[in-house]
Amino acid sequence: MLVTFAQAVGDAMREEMRRDDRILIFGEDIAEFGNIFGITRGMLEEFGSKRVRNTPISEMAFIGAAMGAAETGLRPCVELMYSDFSLVAFAEIYHCIAKWRYMHGPEYKLPLVIRSAMGSSFGATGEHSNCLESLYMHSPGLLVASPSTAYDAKGLLKEAIRNDNPVMFFEHKQLYKTKGEVPEEEYTIPFGVADIKREGSDVTIIAIGLMVGRALEAAEALAKEGISVEVLDPRTLVPFDKEAVRKSLSKTHRAMVVEESNKTSGVGAELAAMMQEEMYDELDGPVVRVAALDVPLPYNIELEKYAIPDAEQIAAAIRKMF
C-alpha cells in the first residue's frame, strides 16, 4: 500500500486509538481542522470530542495536562504543532517529563508521546524550521524518534504510543507528502534499531530525517564514480543503535553524519564524538559532519537552501574523504 508519510502518521494514531481507548490526542487545531497538515482529519468524527481535543495556545498547560493524564492512566499522544514550539514548554519536557519517574519512583510511568512537525520548509524562517533533537538527547529520561519514511513513521509511532516512556516524536514537514510502501497488516518498529537504507562498502553516512533522502541521492551519484556509500538511518536517536553503526563501520571504516540542524552541538556532535571514542579502531579517518550552517534559518529561500545540506554538498564532502 503506497501512502504518504502524513497518512502513515495519521493511520498509526487511528489504529492505536481503535485498539486502546486509553489513548487520546490533543493539541492546537487538531480537532475540526484536522491539524494544519490534515494529519488528524476525521479523527474528531471517529473518536469524538472526548478523545480528540483542540487546546488553547497554551503549550505549557497542555503538556502539563498530558503528564497528569499519563500518570493517572491515560495514554496521551499530544501534538505540538511545530517542534519549535516545544521550546515554550521546554522546562516541562526537559525537567519534568524526562525526570519525573527518576525523581518520584518507579510507579510514575509517563506513557505519553509528543509529536511535532519539524524542519525547514521554504521560508518558514528561524522560529519555524528548527531541528531540535540534540537538545532532547541531552535530557536523560526521554526517547527521541526522527523517522525518514512513511513505513518507519507508522511503525515507530505505534511503538511510541505503546511504550511506557515519554517519547519526543519528530515528523519532518517536507516528508509529509513523500510516499512509501506500508504493509496492510499490523506492525511496529522497536526503538533503537537502525535501518540500513542503502548498503555500501566505502563509507557510512548516518543520516537523519529529511537528510536520509539526500544522503541516498548523494550515494546514487557517488556510485557512478565508484564510491560505494552505506546509508544508515538510526530512526531513533534515543535509544541509539550503536551496534548497527559499529557493524557498518567494520565494513566501511569511514563515517559521516548528515543532519539538518545547526552544526554546533547538533546530533552530529554527539554521534561523531561517540564514534571516534568508542569505535576508533574501526575508523580510518575523522568522522565528518555535514550539517546546517550555524545561523538561524534565513527566510530567503536561496539562502535557506544554502544553509542546509543537499545531495551535492554531501557528495562533495564524501569525495574529500578519499
Binding site: 480537532a31 497554551s58 521550546l87 515554550v88 524562517t125 538561524p296 527566510y299 536561496e302 544553509a307
Partner: protein, 320 residues
C-alpha cells in the same frame, strides 16, 4: 467625541493604507512572489489604526503577525517593507527575517517573535527604559485572542502592573486562533479585557470594526497610562476575513457568519462617514485608492528589481 476633519481624514488614510497593503500582500503571495506563509490582516485594520491614532513621537511598538501594514504606518517605507517580504537585500533584515519581521528600530518598532507571546514582554522592557530616563512616552504591544492564553502574556501583564510601566496591551480579538474559536480557547468571552482585573489594570472592549470606537477606547486608556497610572488592556472585537494563512479554506467555520462580519467593514464605515459629512467625495476616494496602489506597485517593482543577499552574507547581522 468631536473630531476635526483633518483627524478623520488621517484616520481614514491610515485605514485605507492598511487595507490596501494587506490586500496587496494577499495578491502578491498568490503570484508566488513571497516565501513562507502570510497571515492576512484583512478585517482587523481598525484595531491597529484606531489604537495607533493615540501614538506620540517617542512611543514604542510591538506588532503582531496579523497586520504587517502597521510597519508602514510607523515609518517603514513600502520599499523596505516589500523588500523584506520578498526576501531582498533592501529589506530591513536583508530578507533574512521576512514578512513577520518587517521592523525598523529607528521607528521605535521592537520587532516580533513568531513564537507567539515570547515577544510580549518587550513592550515592558521598552517602558522600563522610558521610566528609567523619565520620558513621558509609552509602549504598545499587540497580540491575538489565541495568544492571550499563553503564559508570557500574563507574566508581562503582572510585571507591567507591579512596576507601573506605561504599556498598553492590545488584544486583536479576531475570534480565531487558526481554526480554534475564541470560545474554545478562552474561558471568558474577552480574553484580553476580562483578564486586566487580575492585575489591577483598567480595560476596555471596543468594536474592532469601527476605527473611531477603537480610537476612543484607546484614548481613554492611553490617557490613563500617560498620566503615569500604569498599564491597561484594550480589546478590539473583529473577525478574520480570510483563512489563518493563505490556503486555509476555513472548513471550521460558517461562511454565512463570515459574510455577516465582512459587512462590518471598517473602511466602508469611514468612507460613509466622510461622504455623509461631505469631508471627501467619491472621486477623491477613488483617487486615494489609486495613489496608494501605485505607491505599492512601485515598491513591489523596486523590491523585485532588488538583489537578494548572497551566500557570503549569510552570517551578517548574527553577531555585532
Amino acid at each position: 467625541m468631536e473630531y476635526s476633519n483633518e483627524f478623520l481624514m488621517k484616520l481614514y488614510e491610515e485605514l485605507l493604507r492598511c487595507r490596501l497593503f494587506e490586500k496587496k500582500l494577499v495578491d502578491t503571495y498568490a503570484l508566488g512572489k513571497i516565501p513562507g506563509h502570510i497571515h492576512s490582516g484583512l478585517g482587523g485594520e481598525a484595531c491597529y489604526v484606531g489604537t495607533l491614532a493615540t501614538r506620540q513621537q517617542g512611543d514604542y511598538f510591538k506588532n503582531s503577525h496579523r497586520c504587517i501594514a502597521v510597519a508602514n504606518l510607523l515609518g517603514v517605507s513600502l520599499e523596505t517593507a516589500f523588500s523584506e517580504i520578498m526576501a531582498k537585500r533592501t529589506g530591513n533584515a536583508g530578507g533574512r527575517g521576512g514578512v513577520n519581521h518587517v521592523s525598523q528600530l529607528k521607528y521605535n518598532m521592537l520587532g516580533f517573535s513568531a513564537t507567539l507571546a515570547c515577544d510580549i514582554g518587550l513592550a515592558g522592557g521598552a517602558a522600563m527604559r522610558l521610566q528609567y530616563d523619565g520620558i513621558d512616552n509609552m509602549a504598545y504591544t499587540f497580540y491575538g485572542d489565541g495568544t492571550a492564553n499563553r503564559g508570557p502574556v500574563h507574566e508581562a501583564m503582572n510585571l507591567a502592573a507591579v512596576w507601573k510601566l506605561p504599556v498598553l496591551f492590545v488584544c486583536d480579538n479576531n475570534q480565531f486562533g487558526i481554526s480554534t474559536h475564541v470560545s474554545q480557547g478562552s474561558s471568558v468571552p474577552n480574553p484580553g479585557a476580562d483578564r486586566a482585573g487580575a492585575y489591577g489594570m483598567p480595560s476596555e472592549v471596543a468594536d474592532g470594526t469601527d476605527v473611531l470606537a477603537v480610537y476612543e477606547a484607546a484614548k481613554r486608556l492611553t490617557d490613563h497610562i500617560r498620566a503615569g497610572k500604569g498599564p491597561a488592556v484594550l480589546e478590539c472585537k473583529n473577525y478574520r476575513w480570510r483563512g489563518h494563512f493563505e490556503g486555509d479554506q476555513t472548513p471550521y467555520r460558517d461562511k454565512a457568519v463570515t459574510e455577516e462580519w465582512m459587512k462590518k467593514d471598517s473602511v466602508a464605515k469611514m468612507e460613509k462617514l466622510l461622504l455623509d459629512k461631505k469631508i471627501i467625495d467619491q472621486a477623491a476616494i477613488d483617487n486615494m485608492y489609486q495613489q496608494i496602489d501605485d505607491e505599492m506597485e512601485r515598491a513591489i517593482a523596486f523590491a523585485e528589481a532588488s538583489p537578494a543577499i548572497t551566500p557570503e552574507e549569510i552570517y551578517d547581522n548574527l553577531y555585532v
